[in-house]
Homo-oligomer: 214 residues x 2
C-alpha cells in the first residue's frame, strides 16, 4: 500500500487529528491551519504538517486545510469511512467490561458480537448482546462480516480464539490475553501488554535518587 | 532529570529490552551484543544501540554489553529496582478483571489494594484483596505507600478517583475511564483510549480500494 511507510506514532496522531477535526466540522468551521490543530490537540504544528505530508498534499500554504475533505481523507486512511463492527472472544470480566464500555458510543466502532466456549455462558445476555458459541463463529461471521476482533480470554485460550478469528475472516486483532499469538501474514495483531504500559508509566515517576550514568 | 529527553517510543523499547535481558540473565549468559538483542526482540540492532545511548555508554564496541549491569541500569531508569505496588480504583468489571490478571505475576508489579465508593462492594473480597473504601485511601496509603494507580471507574467518577490518588501521594496514573482528568504538574497520567488503539489497528487492515492521494 502506498502509505505504509508512515511510522506508527504518526498513525496514532492521525486518530487524534481525526477526532479533533470531526469536532471542528461539527462546530461549522470549514478551514483550519496546522496551528489551529495544535491548539486543540497540543501536537506541534510542524509535526501536524509532517504527519499529514506522508499521505499527500492536503493543505495549501498560507490557506490551511479544508476540514471536510481532510476528515474524509483521514477516515479513509484509517479505514474508518463507516462504522467498523467489532467482535470479542471471551465473556469473562474483561469481555464484560468492554461490552459495557461507554467509550464505544459515538466512536467509529460498534460492538457486534461476543463469543465464548463456556456452555454456562453461551446463550446468556450481556448488555445488548447474546453470548455466542465460538464454534459457530465462522458461519455467523459469514453474515455479520466483522473484521475487527478483540481477545479477552485467559492466556491459554488466546491462540484458539485467534485461529477461529482467522478462519472467520477477521483481519485485525487486539489481544488483551497475556500470551503471544501466531498469525498468518495478512492479519495484524496488536498485543496490549498491561505490565509494559505500567513500566513506561513508571519511567515518569519522580525518582528520589538520580540514576548514575557512567 | 538528566535522561528525560529520550522519546517515548524509546522508553517503550527499554521495557522490552529489560524483559529480554532478564530472560538472558536467567539463562546464565553474561554478555550480549545489540545483534543478540535484535534476535530476541526483533528490534533492529542500530535502534537498540541508539536507544541505549540516550542513557550513557553501556557497552564496549566489539565486546557487547554485560547483561547484569545493563539489567540493573534499565530497571533503575524505569524506576523498577524493586516491585512497584499498584492500586486500583473501581471494583467493577474492569477492576475485577485486572485484579485477576495473570500477567501481573512474574512482573515488576504487585497489586496491593483496590478501592471503591459503593457500600455494597466495600469489605467484600476480590481474589486475594478486600475492597477498601475510597474515603480511607489517604490514611491507608500512608502505611502502604503505593505510587502507581489505575483508574477503572465510570467516566463520571474518574476525576474524583484521581483527586483521591493525588491526595494519597500516588505519582503515576493509568486511566482506563473514558474521561480526561486534570492533574497537578508532578503527577503523570496515561490515558488508555481503547477506541484510539482500535483506530490505529484499523490502519493495518487490508483495504479493498486504495485511498486516492491527490
Amino acid at each position: 500500500m502506498i502509505f505504509k511507510q508512515a511510522p506508527e506514532p504518526t498513525i496514532g496522531r492521525l486518530a487524534i487529528y481525526l477526532r479533533a477535526l470531526r469536532t471542528i466540522l461539527d462546530s461549522g468551521v470549514s478551514t483550519v491551519s496546522s496551528a489551529d490543530i495544535e491548539k486543540i490537540t497540543g501536537i506541534n504544528s510542524g509535526q501536524v504538517r509532517k504527519d499529514l505530508s506522508y499521505f499527500g498534499e492536503f493543505g495549501r500554504p498560507g490557506r490551511g486545510y479544508s476540514v471536510e475533505p481532510l476528515v474524509n481523507k483521514l477516515a479513509g486512511i484509517l479505514g474508518l469511512h463507516e462504522k467498523q463492527k467489532v467482535m470479542i472472544v471471551g465473556a469473562g470480566n474483561l469481555g464484560t467490561a468492554l461490552v459495557g464500555y461507554t467509550g464505544f458510543s459515538n466512536s467509529d466502532f460498534e460492538l457486534a458480537a461476543i463469543y465464548d466456549n463456556n456452555f454456562n455462558k453461551i446463550g446468556r445476555s450481556l448488555w445488548h448482546l447474546e453470548i455466542l458459541d465460538i464454534e459457530n463463529m465462522p458461519s455467523i461471521n459469514r453474515e455479520m462480516n466483522v473484521n475487527v476482533g478483540i481477545i479477552t480470554t485467559p492466556g491459554t485460550a488466546a491462540q484458539y480464539a485467534a485461529d477461529k478469528m482467522f478462519e472467520s475472516g477477521v483481519k485485525v486483532i487486539m489481544n488483551f490475553a497475556p500470551a503471544r499469538i501466531n498469525v498468518p501474514e495478512n492479519v495484524t495483531v496488536r498485543n496490549v501488554d498491561l505490565t509494559q504500559e505500567l513500566q513506561i508509566l513508571c519511567y515518569y515517576m519522580p525518582k528520589e535518587e538520580i540514576v548514575e550514568i557512567k
